[in-house]
Symmetry: C2
Subunit: 171 residues, 2 copies
DNA sequence: GACAGGTACGTGGACGTCCAGGTATCTTGG
DNA sequence: CCAAGATACCTGGACGTCCACGTACCTGTC
C-alpha cells in the first residue's frame, strides 16, 4: 500500500524542474492538505460507521448539543459549520429519519426552520464523542507540539481566507 | 459570511470545559484540516471549472503527463494518487469522454487497462497548470515560511500514517 | 400599505469518495 | 494440467459537497 517515496515531494520536484519553482511550495501545500483531510476523514468515519453516523452529521449533532436551547435555524448551523446550507439540509434529512433531530417551524420567522436535537440525539452524540476522543482525537497521529503547530498554521490560513475575525487587534 | 470568532477555538474550549481536555487539541487538528481542505478545494475548483476539469481529474492528467510513457495502469495511478481504484475509474470515464485520455488493453496482462494521455490531454493539463500556478499555488494564502511549516508537519503526519517510507534512515 | 429586493429552505443534479460485490485473468501448488 | 487463491477492473449504491433554481416569507422604501 505504501510508496517507497513521498508523492508530494516527487510532485514538488517535478514543479521545480519544469520552471514552476515559485508555485511548487504552494502546490505541495494544497496537495498535502488534500491528503491529510482524506486520512482524517477515513479514521473518523471508521469509528462512526458502526454507530450509524458520519462526521458531517456528528458535527451537526454536537453543534446542537452545545447550543443553549438545543435548536438552531438551518442558516445559523450552516454558518457555524461553514458548509453550504444544502449540506445542512441533507444532514438534517438523515438525522431526522433516525429520530436524532426534529424539524420545527421557527416561532417568529415564517421562513425559518428550527433543527432541534432529541434525547436520543444527545445520547448518540455523547457516545460518538467518547469513541472519537478515545480512538482518534487523543491520538491524532502527531506529537502534541506538532499538533499545536498544525492547528495554529491552519488557523492563520483560515483567518486570512476570511473565515472569522479575531476579537483582539480590531483595525 | 465570516464569524466574529474562530469556530475551531470555540469547539476546543467546549471540549476542555467538558473534561475532554486530552482530546481537545486532536479534535481541533482534525476540524482544522477539514476546513483547510474545503478552502483549498474551493479555490482550485473555481479556477478549473471554466476549463472543464476538476482537481481530481487534473491530478490524474498530470500524473500521466509526468509518467515516462504517458500511460499507466489503473492500479498504479490509484496508488500514486492515493485514492480508491474506483475513484480512478470514475475520473477516467469522464476524461475519456472528453478525449483527454484513452483506455488501452495492457500489452502483457490481460486483466489490466492502460490509461494513456492524449495530445489534447497534455495541452489542457498545461493550461490548467499555468492558471493554477498563477491563481492558487503561487499565492496559497500563507507567507512562505508558514507554507513550509504546513507542508512539513503534514508530511510527518502522512509518513506516520504509513503513506510512504523515507529512503534515508532505513531501520 | 403595496411592491421590490433580500432572506430562508428545499429540490434536483453534478461530482468525488468509498464500499460491496461481480467477472475475467494471472499465479501458484499439488 | 487443473484447481484455489490473488489480482485488476468495473458496476451499483451510499454519502457529502456544491450549484442552479424555485417558492415562501420578511423588510424597507416610496
Amino acid at each position: 500500500m505504501d510508496l517507497p517515496f513521498d508523492p508530494v515531494e516527487e510532485a514538488r520536484r517535478h514543479w521545480r524542474e519544469h520552471g514552476w519553482a515559485e508555485a511548487a511550495d504552494g502546490m505541495a501545500a494544497v496537495t498535502s492538505v488534500m491528503r491529510a483531510h482524506q486520512l482524517m476523514q477515513a479514521r473518523v468515519d471508521e469509528v462512526l460507521r458502526p454507530l450509524g453516523l458520519t462526521f458531517a452529521r456528528y458535527e451537526l449533532l454536537m453543534l446542537l448539543h452545545f447550543s443553549s436551547s438545543g435548536a438552531l435555524p438551518v442558516t445559523k448551523a450552516s454558518r457555524r459549520l461553514q458548509v453550504h446550507p444544502t449540506s445542512v439540509t441533507n444532514a438534517v434529512d438523515r438525522l431526522e429519519a433516525a429520530a436524532l433531530v426534529v424539524r420545527r417551524p421557527h416561532p417568529t420567522d415564517g421562513r425559518g426552520t428550527l433543527i432541534a436535537i432529541t434525547a436520543a440525539g444527545r445520547r448518540l452524540a455523547l457516545t460518538c464523542t467518547a469513541r472519537l476522543n478515545d480512538e482518534v482525537f487523543s491520538r491524532p497521529g502527531l506529537p502534541p507540539d506538532q499538533v499545536e503547530v498544525l492547528v495554529e498554521v491552519v488557523a492563520d490560513l483560515r483567518e486570512r481566507a476570511g473565515d472569522f475575525r479575531t476579537a483582539e487587534r480590531a483595525g
